[in-house]
Subunit: 483 residues, 4 copies
């Protein structure tokens, strides 16, 4: 059974042109003029783009004594409704737990997904078992390893553990990732703030200002450089972290930064709301920043010093947020965004002229597919690629609201934002997964996407590091002489 997308304009990371797209067997089989197929999707006035890939979600994640509110069912439903056709979620072993054991748990959770997915594996502790299993994890097609520099006492790893894991990534051709905030300082600041009576949600923001993130980003970059491996920094939210990334690139290092749609479009004033719920619902790490930081992130996306836009989707209900009444450190960290990432970015980025349409595709899909070792299966409008596509109507408008969103959460941090630019159809491997405002892909339609290690940047960096490696000085008769 074939499907054809007619009368649209294809927009990819590097091209904009009119053509029809013919799909069969879940893949694109032809691109050109005058194509025909059994099912016809009309893209008049629309852009046909690679479906969004969200490289950073936490679905049904056990965290801070509860579970994030969206699981793979509601989470991927939200994704499709917003034009995102794939998510990469984080498999999180408990300290001491094996990586493969954790993976089984995540395999199970993900079975309900409406769209395709992959996993990053978290390294939350270090030992021979972790070292060994990393190879098996890569063999399973999971080629990226996350490290938490914050959440002291639970997920956090130390510098020597990071160095060991990063070296292992270098050997395996994998990409290390970091949540970059100095966990020691966050913990100390939190204690101090609570003691001083700063117990409200704004205390969360006070406890982890931008310099705490900048510091950790800078540190992770140094460690990756010493280990000889590229680095992916998740949720880059501030100028300090971005500056560290720019400085690294300027020294020939390979580092990617990932701003979140929240940090691009929402700011710290939200925490100063007199409504505790309003503020608590926005509690996430890193916290929202101010306009100076936002400008920095936008410029980074346009100039290529930042590479991807994600959501860190980790929704909690108001009830869950209220666990932290009287103590901000107990407010579950996280916000949603899966359904809103693309419309928000288009509205605030493309229609304003901060980004070109091609850059929009690059940062929401293509760059992510490349960095994560699954391009052009994903992230491309090419013959042979998976037909994960969106038919994007740049004139469509709506007001974002919890009343109408897919997420299981009872509020939405973008509530009230009017967006221009929405998917008319979303296709997942050729299946019309979203149409006429409804998600039509069945639960369980999603499949695991195995990824390939040893990307071009890993290989290039390894060559350079080998070429410039420390070499012993040849000395005869040591010690040779006096003064």
């Amino acid at each position: 059974m074939s499907t054809v997308i007619k009368n649209g304009t294809i927009v990819t990371a590097d091209l904009t042109y009119k053509a029809d797209v013919l799909i069969e067997g879940g893949q694109i089989i032809a691109i050109g003029a005058g194509l025909s197929g059994e099912t016809v999707l009309d893209a008049t006035g629309c852009y046909v783009m690679p479906g969004g890939i969200d490289p950073h979600t936490h679905l049904e994640m056990p965290f801070m004594g509860t579970y994030s509110a969206d699981d793979f069912e509601s989470g991927t439903r939200a994704a499709l409704a917003g034009g995102t056709t794939m998510v990469i979620d984080f498999a999180l072993p408990a300290p001491g737990e094996g990586l493969l054991d954790a993976l089984k748990v995540w395999d199970n959770k993900a079975a309900r997904a409406h769209c395709d997915y992959s996993f990053h594996m978290a390294v939350t502790w270090w030992g021979e078992q972790v070292f060994d299993e990393m190879q098996k994890v890569v063999a399973r097609g999971i080629t990226s390893f996350k490290h938490f520099m914050a959440y002291k006492g639970s997920l956090m790893v130390n510098d020597d553990e990071m160095f060991a894991s990063f070296k292992r990534c270098a050997e395996l051709g994998a990409v290390p990732m970091v949540h970059a905030e100095n966990g020691d300082i966050v913990a100390e600041m939190s204690t101090k703030l609570l003691a001083e009576g700063n117990t409200g949600p704004e205390g969360h923001a006070y406890s982890r200002p931008s310099q705490v993130e900048g510091e950790a980003t800078n540190r992770a970059i140094m460690i990756a450089d010493m280990a000889g491996v590229p680095l992916y920094v998740v949720h880059t939210s501030c100028e300090e972290a971005h500056e560290a990334i720019r400085r690294a690139k300027m020294n020939g290092k390979r580092v990617w930064g990932e701003p979140l749609i929240q940090h691009l479009t929402l700011d710290e004033s939200e925490y100063f709301s007199e409504d505790w719920d309003h503020a608590a619902r926005r509690v996430m790490s890193p916290p929202f920043r101010n306009k100076k930081h936002q400008d920095s992130l936008w410029a980074g996306l346009a100039s290529g010093t930042l590479s991807c836009v994600a959501t860190d989707h980790c929704a909690f209900t108001t009830e869950q947020k209220r666990y932290g009444l009287g103590d901000f450190t107990k407010i579950p960290n996280g916000t949603g965004g899966l359904e809103d990432r693309l419309p928000m970015l288009w509205s605030e980025g493309v229609t304003t002229g901060r980004l070109t349409m091609n850059e929009f595709v690059a940062v929401t899909s293509t760059n992510i597919a490349k960095i994560m070792g699954m391009y052009p299966k994903k992230g491309a409008v090419l013959v042979g690629a998976d037909a994960d596509l969106i038919i994007w109507d740049p004139q469509a408008r709506k007001t974002i609201s919890a009343k109408s969103h897919q997420s299981a959460s009872d509020y939405n941090v973008f509530e009230g934002k009017v967006v221009t630019g929405l998917p008319r159809y979303t296709l997942s491997r050729g299946l019309v997964a979203f149409a006429e405002g409804k998600v039509t892909a069945p639960e369980g339609h999603g499949e695991f996407v195995a990824r390939t290690p040893m990307g071009a940047e890993n290989r290039a960096l390894s060559s350079w590091k080998a070429l410039t490696a420390p070499r012993p000085v040849v000395r005869a008769g040591i010690p040779a002489s006096g003064v």
Copy 2:
């Protein structure tokens, strides 16, 4: 008549994969496994890449009382021998001369080209005629305008002229370009150096140190920003200029930088040779720099803060260089490089791991085609694209020498460099234009390539500038009041 390239690995700016390429009518008509055609080119062990595009040449250019030694015949012959399938040369109106008149002269010169070509138009003076003709030039498919901030008294334009021309570019959707060196200071320094007895070729380098280039780059960026137009900076040779570009990008500005292969691989020590000829043959503007600057340029290419690699090919013979005996200001400025750009960049960039193969393609071809408004006709391995292709043998080696090069010049600034990585075949619109060490495309095979204005960056920037334009404060009863 069809041609098929078999058994190769296609390398583009974003992909590496095994496939055959089928060519007919000068274009790629199929990419895939098991293709067949009338002529078969074996690419076993080779990479099939878009042919190089040199965005910066000066063929048969009248300059400093003579003509550059390579014309479109020998220059494009050299290009093909080195894997470059297109050049963009600069049409230079004399002060007071009309743009269209200059264009006719360049049309005539280019008739002898072995490979395709386009032109940039230089704005060497300002007036209503220039303003008017710019539109006609753009209509002819010439969408980039060069401005010289140096060469005081001949080509140089002032800040107000640049601003006027840049604004005109903004209206026309064209890209302004600058040769960025402070011409006033270079002129003053030259006079001073000659007076102090610094008459040798090294005086050329002394007269235009990196800060002089950095300053002008910074100035041009500001002017482009005020005019609301992207900017292309030619021959970015130093950290100061690169820093200005990075800083601009960090503020959301749209600027591209273009290092030359010479600046990436040769350094200022050449000017201190005791052999006057050796030094004089390397005289070009900007002059070669030191390792610090080279490291900066390489990092820029890897990180995307610099976009293209060019040659500024402007060869002169030893005899011509000797015009400047006793007075460095009379040494014709320029060096060759058309044949050597790709092999040198591959050898010093890709084999070392400083660049990936994909980045190599991007900076030598694809980025240039995109910025210059002719992608994917040029710079792509896509069905429908011109079959300007190279079959690149990464194991092939040679020693660069004037004895065997194509250029009309009697020396080569890369003399003695051993390169690894050479074209086995070069195709120009499907024609085998270079094979078995010989250029086989006939003189006059080359065609003019018309380019498209209003690129995505121009449009995005215009939107942003419109959105943020100065708006008058509404006041009733002016002046309104006291204190």
Copy 3:
């Protein structure tokens, strides 16, 4: 007749200690415990500091078809009332006018001064006469030369003129100064804005945004470096200019930056007032900036990358400002500040903790005296120094208002600001020049202060430039050889 200041705490640029100060013959003759003299000034609870020096005033300046409203009489009266005991005003030759002729005019104007003064000499055109007279001007004790990069068509000089003048400064051991804004671009932007209907005072700010200042600052620094001379940048108002200065210092260059008290404490929102008068009264060049720029300036003062705080005092009456009704380019540029500089800086800098008291003294007095070649005669609390002193009451409060200020202007840009920290007494060469809220120094009390060229930075830089000067390569038999 001797005067003693009792019971105070002396605060200098590098010390804070309790001591009395004994004055005779206009100079400090003793510092220590238990001093006595004929006149006793009680400094209980006060700081005894060097009187402020304002390095940047325009008194009775002919400008834009009128004269600035404060002359040396009212201007220096305002100075003393605010704790400033010396001003350096700009002697401005008309284009073509000799420097010495201009000096005579300024000598005459200054005869009415209540406090000491010196002059900077402006280089508003270039020629042999200017070259020659610069030496005579230095011999007269005027060791700093001002260059306008803006005010095209009147005061502006070009890059080659600046270079010539800067080289001359290097020879004479003088300090070149620049008003750094790109005059070409300001002129073009002004025309464009007026044409677009931006005729109000806010148009003035639109016409000269911070990048225009940053560019010119960067350019002047390069030119000074090429000429081998330190550089003093007046009214550094923005991060871009400050960044250029920092970058220069980081490359070993000798550059000083001078923020104005206006830019430190007032912001661009003033121009958006619906009251035309309010906005027009704030029109000055550079215009007020936003908080980001203010933070940059404050950090520069604390860290030493910026050196002095001035006023650019150039008052105009409301009537004069109204010359520009309907055309912002005709609003006379300038604001007052002489009386308010010290109280405003103390209130917003010292009481907040942004600056130490010692830094306050450094940037308002001592650094200026050093850079300008008159330390420790001025700017010091040392035996032998001129007794230009303030007895500063850190608890005294007032509300700034045009109703009570000394200036001839009918408004005050700091109107309504409550300041904490005011002079109890101001002494000019030992004379009580301000006491109990009244200026007591007679008109004409002020004397010209001759300054010394060849400061330590000039000498050090000349040594370094001589050491690293370009040297010709020694070659035998030129050209020596082939290939």
Copy 4:
């Protein structure tokens, strides 16, 4: 008994002038023309400057299983011979040892000193005892606390310990100091290098490249900022660390950097000597760097982004260095320099024009005295100051050699350097302590110098932090409402 220094030119951090200096009771009692005293020291042709203060020495330090070769006797003898009249040494409690106990040990060692001295106290572990004793240490006049971010397993403290200690410093008005290298990474890299056969002294340099220092510097700055206290970074050796300091200052932070004379004048090529002894003798942490880093340090001293020049004098004999034959991690870390600091800095800094004479005094003496809370008792040529003075002969020359130096070490890292500029006399509290090439101050002449906490920068920063401290949002009825 009085001493007078006649016919000299006084050079201080901010002045250069001719005057005699009269000394009695160990202090300066008069400065002026025509002074007379019982002992006359002729300073014809010389500069009279504050004696050097070395803020960073390790005399008789237990380290890596041995003791540094110079104790307070030979170390301070070397100091005086080189014009240094005071040292600040580090009291190092063993982990678990009380601060006051350690102090007793250092008191005993220092009893043999020829010149005055003070101590910094190291915080090598954390606990209530340390917290409590810090106050007593400050009360004893020791107002600076050192933290090692390297030497994992012995001296190193973690981020949370640093934060706790820095907060304590903020309360006490003390200055925290850091040895900034990432100890985790150094340890891991050392293991890796040894395993790869990099066992020679060059392995030491490989194990702690500049980015390791830059990272730790950046981290310490963030922690100090969060704790609200200024920071002193010892032995800043590289551009990365200097960049972190500059960036911090640009954000209004209070940070001082201290390059060593070794890093300013010696480079990494020393480690590549074929002579094992030569290389091992230069092993110190941080290791020597290359010219790029040196240029950065010199520019920092001239521009004020770096504040002091020290030695980290920690001499070991060749025999001791040979402990590390076959394993660079066992080579005792440290080099000498006490006798050579001033002559080397004068020769390479002042005579070249990189620094003015006043800057020389500032970075070797006055700045140190100010930052360390003992100005103007030390570091000044003022009436009432201690007569710690040098009569500096700018024409005197010698060749540095272990054969003639004072240190107990059998070699000198500056061996063979020809210096211009040497002390003719060195005075310690009025006593001629060095004359005619001989140290004349008796063993035990040196006295402990108690220092004052709560410097101006500490107070200013505390005010600013209080003003901008996090404040809770006032909320009624929490949680307030929905959506």
